[in-house]
């Protein structure tokens, strides 16, 4: 394995509507030692602003390593990477600006709450990004209301006195308060009950559809991926192996099962129908499938 770093500046052709551009991005842990482990190999992709992309793959496939590049928690070793116009091949990209624009919600983000009050916790970002103190409360109020909590009710509470679902929403608010243009979510619904999952996903969809936030969601729940994402990127052993809309990807049932991923229920259903020559319009969830089937039946009876 060549040890020399080959960082390539991003070409100037990166279009303004491109949120993330990666070309042959390669990364090894302990790159300098002989026991270095390749975590990513030749990842090339372009994600446009406003897309809702799901990133899936088995544990250890490189998903987390990849997303940590997006706000330079991991620095570029080989290849090129451009995020919102920041060329990460540069020695000193504007990290503060980048990290403000790329909001990162880690797994179980409620474990990272730390301040005495919800207000302080949510204001930590703006404070460190140098936003004038007079604006903090206004920004926090906006973010806390965005995640569906009552600002006056929670602002002076200790975040540790809230329920699990509320804590997670406060953690989300702490990221959203900086109004990121890209939101990276690492298993945002893990450990939540069905209702909590639904609420978090509704929030993410709202941010994506109404405010145009680009969403990169890492998930192990293929049903959730199918029902929410416009595009699914599959990682396997550090390589990008599929990059397709969910409706196309999950037609490949054998390949999906080979990778120890599940075929979403709605996709499995549509696949059976397709094999029998019945094609439904694009359906994301049970309700849409039901509506499509009712329409089909009505049409055939008429």
């Amino acid at each position: 394995m060549p040890r020399a770093k080959k960082i390539v500046p991003t070409p100037s052709v990166v279009e303004p509507n491109v949120a993330i551009y990666a070309d042959k991005l390669t990364f090894s842990y302990n790159a300098k030692s002989t026991s270095g482990k390749r975590a990513l190999t030749d990842i090339s992709l372009t994600i446009n602003r406003g897309e809702f992309v799901a990133l899936v793959g088995h544990t250890g496939s490189g998903k987390s390593t990849f997303v940590q590049h997006l706000n330079a928690l991991m620095r570029l070793q080989q290849g090129s990477l451009n995020v919102l116009g920041h060329d990460l091949a540069q020695k000193k990209p504007n990290l503060m600006q980048l990290r403000k624009q790329v909001g990162m919600v880690f797994q179980y983000p409620e474990y990272q709450l730390f301040a005495d009050t919800v207000l302080e916790d949510v204001c930590f970002g703006p404070k460190n990004f140098g936003v004038p103190a007079s604006e903090h409360e206004q920004l926090a109020k906006k973010a806390i209301e965005l995640v569906g909590l009552d600002f006056e009710e929670v602002k002076n509470k200790s975040p540790f006195d809230l329920s699990g679902g509320e804590k997670r929403r406060v953690a989300f608010a702490g990221v959203l308060v900086s109004e990121p243009q890209i939101l990276v979510l690492d298993e945002p619904t893990a450990g939540l009950d069905p209702q909590g999952k639904k609420e978090i996903l509704q929030l993410v969809r709202k941010l994506n559809k109404e405010q145009g936030v680009t969403v990169i969601m890492v998930s192990h729940d293929m049903n959730e991926v199918y029902e929410n994402a416009d595009r699914v990127i599959v990682f396997r052993d550090g390589c990008l192996v599929y990059d397709l809309p969910p409706q196309q990807l999950f037609r490949l049932e054998n390949e999906i099962e080979d990778m120890n991923l599940e075929v979403p229920q709605v996709a499995a259903f549509c696949n059976v129908l397709e094999q029998a020559g019945i094609t439904l319009p694009t359906c994301h969830n049970v309700e849409e499938v039901f509506a499509a089937l009712c329409a089909l039946k009505e049409g055939s009876n008429a």
Binding site: H58, T59, G60, S163, G164, G165, A190, G191, L192, D193, P194, Q195, G196, H220, M222, N223, N260, L261, E262, Q265, V266, A268, F269, C270, N271, V272, L273, A276, I278, V286, V289, F290, L293, C294, L296, K297, S300
Partner: protein, 290 residues
Amino acid sequence: MSETTQQNVIIELQNATYYYKTFAEDGTAVQDIGVEGVTLSICEGDFVALVGHNGCGKSTLAKLLNGLLRPTNGKVLVSGMDTADKKCIFDIRKSVGMVFQNPDNQRVASIVEEDVAFGPENLGVPSAEIRERVYKALEQVNMVEFAHSAPSRLSGGQKQRIAIAGALAIQPKVLVLDESTAMLDPLGRKEVLAVAHQLNKQGMTVILITHFMEEVLDANKVIVMNNGHVVSQGTPMEIFTNTKLLEEVGLRAPRAVQLSHLLHQAGFAVTDNNTDIKMLGGEVCQELKR
């Protein structure tokens, strides 16, 4: 329920109540309901799924089962022993093994076999027997080949199976899995569930706490909790067809059950409450091609 009447009751809760003590802003003590007035019995060999939204009291209930918490009111009996009776607590904890959500929080040693041996060592089991128990437990979770590995280098599912082996080494009669699959990827979840079902077939009573409704389908009994109370008990099908109940407690039926129920109600000739999405697909094809 004729089947269960013949079985022996292993865990019995009689009006069990647990209040957490917390303090209001002005410093006065307040009682927060953990669980309240829970009466239920679990039989030997049952595979029970315990469901409900976050904070509904599932974990409190689990902790009452082996005396990690003692009921504020009411009684919890394990094989007839009262968890409030301090003399019985060791025997109770030997009968009820627990595995929690995060595999990294329940590791005590840096080598797998030592980790599994921790339980029996503390019970003063003779060392030759410890060895025997450890290997038997590792065999039960299909992890013998990792006996000398470091737990930190294992996958989530493997770590969780080691945690189960640690519980098995105490030779419990009941295994409580408190969201033990929540942090795992699909493969890890599959592995842990397979082990739980395999143990159940060998006679172990299993209590599975989960948010994944698909995992609930294979249980023989489901207990639904809401705000500290048991609001319903029944077979998975009885629970998943009770749409009103599901809505009230914020749960949802598995997608296949939902879709088959919707279609059945709309007059499609399909099996109602079907758990098999492909079979449902087949039925719909038949219907549409007629």
